[in-house]
């Protein structure tokens, strides 16, 4: 088979580019802790009341001697519980793990302008961990079409300094 020498050179360059991209993804995983959601657990979407999702909200846990927080969020047509009626309030510079699922249809859970972005799928629990570096408010957006009032589904995450974090609103 005849391949022009310029084309041979181009194909080599292309393979180099492909290798570079794959390496950049691996580098993100390994060196920068840029993880992607994986397989965590399934759940019966019609009986969320019997699980932690029955009392959604922020919980305090202790892991390896450190204080961390867990946030259970239900995405429903057309609100985040919690998040819409009242903001999700968490302290800065602390590990926060979100558990997200839906009792009805597909939704999105996107903290606008960040890479905290996951699908909320009935029957699946999405688990993701982050540390918010600064105290500020973030907008929360549903980014998957979920029905005729999808465009009103929004919420807020309020990150406060560790010292000002009010623990009286935690879910026990």
């Amino acid at each position: 088979m005849h391949i022009h020498k310029f084309e041979r050179f181009w194909i080599k360059l292309s393979f180099g580019l492909i290798a570079f991209f794959i390496a950049s993804v691996i580098y993100g995983f390994v060196a920068m802790d840029l993880k992607v959601i994986g397989d965590y657990q399934t759940i019966d979407p019609q009986n969320l009341g019997e699980t932690e999702f029955g009392t959604p909200g922020v919980r305090k846990v202790t892991k390896n001697g450190q204080t961390e927080y867990e946030v259970y969020v239900q995405t429903i047509q057309f609100a985040f519980q919690p998040g819409t009626a009242r903001p999700i309030t968490v302290p800065a510079n602390t590990r926060v793990t979100f558990y997200i699922t839906s009792p009805d249809v597909l939704h999105g859970f996107e903290v606008a302008g960040t890479n905290i972005n996951t699908m909320s799928i009935p029957g699946q629990v999405a688990k993701l961990t982050t540390i918010f570096p600064e105290s500020r408010e973030y907008g929360l957006v549903c980014n998957e079409y979920c029905g005729p009032a999808h465009h009103i589904m929004e919420g807020k995450i309020k990150v406060v300094p560790k010292s000002e974090f009010d623990k009286s609103n935690l879910v026990q």
Binding site: I18, F21, G28, F29, G38, E110, M119, V125
Partner: protein
């Protein structure tokens, strides 16, 4: 003598497919214009925000599924007939696939547009991805299934022609136009397995109420089994035009026959196992499979980069034949005053830009920054919305005269049309990409953050400027679309009759088929390899998903 006079039966089939395609293009494009004004808040008087999703479903289904499929069918009928030099084997069979697809399309369209009837019971505002548990009227799913079955029969029709031709020409190489058609259809058969199982096996019984609950992740996964390969089903016919016809329109010849075949083989093999890259943000799919899909997706850059080389090399050869000189100055010698050439060339430039944003989408962890934001429609309006759609429109200026035996009218308007499309898309798409970076979601009737005092924080530019670029870009695109439909309709009905309405001669490649290894034409080998890679990607995760029951964990249906 042009195509119409040599193959009148096939010309009629091609024309029928093009008529359906252009009606879908006009209607779907008009919906897009309404959306551009509505979601930016520039004008919301056409429909209310609840009805927006009906229009959005119509836009996606009519353009991404109907316009493309029918145009591709018309194009492939032309190419197979021409390159094998034979009419379809059995016209009853040929017309039956056309009518099955058309009936299916009408059913799906009625189900969607029913959503605009106040208090109507027929609705299908489920968007073109139709994820359960949002449920559409059964007519929507049955209509889509009919379009799919019709497209399978169309593919069978072309294989039938090929087999008959092969009996008469046992030693010839597969002509390049037929080769590209058959490999595109082989890929279509592989990827539509997922869609057929989803629609016929799960969604139709569920929408008819035979089963009540559905597991949302399984049909979503089956959809994306199909959903990325379908973009190559749109793109490969554009490549077909770029490889087979664009070099001629540039005044030159295709650079290499064997490289063309290799590119189509790579697409057949790698198009389907990449589907999980649409599910990077999904819970319930383990990282290993996402990683496999990511690596496969990156490898798919190769055939597109090879295409870039061949297309540019062929165009440069054409420009040099026309007297072009220098490293870059030859670009000026290309026929920038011919609408068919201009459309294909501008589509190619846009595709390069769309390819770059696609490389970012493919990067598994970077992807989370833009997943389901406006960046994504910004990306695919460059790829399917321009690389494919503009190529199809441009090549229509060259094909429709061959099919109707009439010369093109309003050549100046035809020449303005691709430039306006390019301008409108440049405005709209760059703003959509940047808005997506700021977190603005896709698929929403109104920008979010109406009720609380949050705002999006753009990295480049301002929200106001992006809003106007999207609205103005969408308006220019509508004008471009009207120009296209006007030129085609008037030429079709009232163009000057001619024996040779366009120069339809296609010269041989520079590096011809005599240099092409025979193994590249071994369809069974490549098809088997494609099936093996799909099995590797999908058998285990799908098996795992149905371990707790096909419809478990089950969710109840919700009205759309």
């Amino acid at each position: 003598m042009t195509f119409l006079h040599k193959f009148p039966k096939a010309a009629k089939v091609s024309k029928a497919n093009f008529i359906v395609a252009f009606i879908a293009l006009g209607l779907g494009g008009f919906f897009g214009f309404i959306q551009a004004l509505h979601r930016t808040g520039v004008f919301r008087g056409f429909f209310n925000s609840g009805e927006y999703y009906t229009l959005l479903t119509g836009h996606g289904v009519l353009l991404a599924l109907i316009f493309t499929t029918f145009f591709i069918a018309g194009l492939f009928v032309w190419g197979v007939t021409r390159s094998l030099e034979r009419e379809p084997e059995n016209m009853t069979f040929t017309w039956s696939w056309f009518w099955i697809m058309t009936i299916g399309l009408v059913m799906a369209a009625v189900a969607i547009l029913g959503g605009l009837v106040p208090n109507g019971s027929i609705r299908a505002a489920v968007l073109y991805t139709f994820y359960p548990p949002l449920q559409a009227h059964p007519m929507f799913y049955i209509g889509l299934a009919l379009v799919l079955i019709g497209s399978w029969m169309a593919g069978a029709d072309w294989f039938w022609s090929y087999r008959k031709w092969r009996e008469e020409n046992p030693t010839d190489r597969i002509p390049i136009l037929t080769f590209m058609t058959l490999f595109t259809m082989l890929m279509w058969y592989v990827c539509t397995i997922g869609l057929a199982i989803e629609v016929v096996g799960l969604l139709i019984p569920w929408s008819l109420g035979w089963v009540v609950e559905i597991e949302p992740l399984l049909p979503r996964t089956l959809f994306w089994f199909f959903g990325h390969a379908v973009v190559y089903f749109w793109l490969l016919p554009a490549y077909y035009v770029w490889y087979a016809i664009l070099p001629k329109l540039s005044g030159g010849r295709l650079f290499s026959d064997s490289m063309t075949r290799i590119v189509f083989i790579i697409f057949l093999i790698l198009s389907t196992p990449v589907g999980y890259h649409h599910q990077y943000a999904d819970a319930g799919i383990s990282l290993g499979f996402k990683f496999y899909a990511m690596a496969t997706t990156m490898l798919l850059l190769l055939p597109s980069l090879m295409t870039l080389f061949t297309v540019v090399a062929s165009m440069e050869h054409g420009a040099r034949q026309r007297g072009g000189k220098g490293y870059f100055a030859w670009v000026g010698k290309l026929p920038w005053d011919r609408p068919a050439f201009v459309g294909c060339a501008l589509a190619g430039i846009m595709f390069a830009a769309g390819g770059f944003s696609g490389m970012i989408n493919a990067g598994m962890n970077v992807n989370l920054l833009i997943h389901n934001t406006l960046w994504i429609p910004g990306h695919f309006h460059l790829t399917v919305g321009t690389a494919v759609a503009l190529t199809f429109m441009a090549i229509s200026y060259w094909l429709v005269p061959q099919l109707t035996g009439r010369k093109l009218k309003f050549k100046t308007l035809a020449l303005i049309q691709p430039y306006t499309w390019f301008l409108g898309m440049t405005l709209m798409s760059n703003a959509m990409h940047r808005a997506g970076l700021a977190g603005v979601p896709r698929r929403t009737a109104e920008p979010e953050f109406n009720t609380n005092a949050m705002s999006f924080d753009p990295v480049f530019g301002t929200m106001g400027e992006m809003k106007w670029q999207i609205a103005i870009g969408g308006t220019i695109l509508l004008i471009s679309l009207i120009l296209f439909l006007w030129v085609i309709t008037t030429s079709w009905l009232a163009g000057e009759k001619s024996d040779k309405p366009v120069d339809d001669y296609i010269p041989e490649p520079l590096s011809g088929v005599e240099h092409t290894p025979a193994v590249l034409d071994n369809m069974k080998l490549w098809f088997a390899l494609a099936l093996i890679l799909v099995l590797l990607a999908y058998s285990f995760p799908l098996w795992e998903m149905i371990q707790d029951g096909i419809f478990e964990p089950g969710a109840l249906p919700r009205p759309s």
